[in-house]
Symmetry: C2
DNA sequence: TTTATATTTGCAACTTGGTTGCAATAGTAA
DNA sequence: TTACTATTGCAACCAAGTTGCAAATATAAA
């Protein structure tokens, strides 16, 4: 179900995403939120925010679930598909704006491409 | 540690991969092997086969771990990097031979690209 | 402002994928 | 055959994510 009510917890979680283009893992949020919040609540709010077109989610390199802010999505269309970069040093995940050309695969219908680039971020390079 | 001894369990697991270019999830192997095998054993053997350059692993769409046969790898170099396709219908995962061009990202050093294409496989399209 | 209702939350218990320590077993080379 | 080390099974564990339910609360109607 999408977000129906603007609760304190919803606002608090949304603030975490508002500033940056970085993604946040659910595990991180459950552990490090200023105001502690039950983990089911965190999972459920993020889920609803995704359904509402506010956030998108993906799986990081260790199988953890990450969320980040959408740019121009709505409940009806989620168009914010892009590659993600995860730093092997510090673990940080960024949304990228670069387009990646996906080839046609014969006899397959491709509906979605998940691209995760792994490497060193700016901070960890220096 | 890499594979040191050719045990019955190692042989049995290897046979699962030998024929096809399809990947197999650990969960599937633990559940459906003809000769039942302890799950720690399965995890450990797959791990060693990867270290030996016989298999490569990646994370599928639900965060599960998958393995597939390498073509030309060894302990020393794992060069078998390619995109994977997972069917949204039947869940099957295939290794693809197509090359995907990864753009340079400024101020980032990219070490590895994980590409997972999701869609419908040949069987599920018909 | 008060009331009514549906949504949201916390909690505790659960499920599932994956890991670990250790004692028993079994390849392999001598 | 023996000796040595790698491998296995087992049981217990850990961590991420899910679920059912009763209590709390946002919001709209009265
Ligand atoms: Mn993103
Ligand atoms: Mn592959
Ligand atoms: Zn970094
Ligand atoms: Zn299919």
């Amino acid at each position: 179900m999408a977000i129906k009510r603007q609760t304190a917890t919803v606002k608090l979680l949304w603030e975490q995403f508002e500033e940056s283009r970085d993604a946040l893992s659910v595990v991180y949020l459950v552990k490090h939120l200023k105001v502690a919040m039950n983990k089911s609540t965190v999972y459920r709010i993020l889920d609803r925010m995704e359904e509402s077109g506010k956030l998108h989610s993906f799986i990081g390199k260790n199988g953890l679930k990450w969320y980040a802010k959408c740019q121009d999505c709505s409940s009806e269309n989620h168009i914010d598909i892009h590659p993600h970069f995860q730093c092997n040093g510090c673990g940080k995940v960024e949304c990228l704006t670069e387009e990646i050309k996906i080839p046609k695969i014969s006899k397959h219908q491709i509906q979605l491409a998940q691209v995760l680039l792994l490497g060193k971020c700016e901070t960890c390079l220096n």
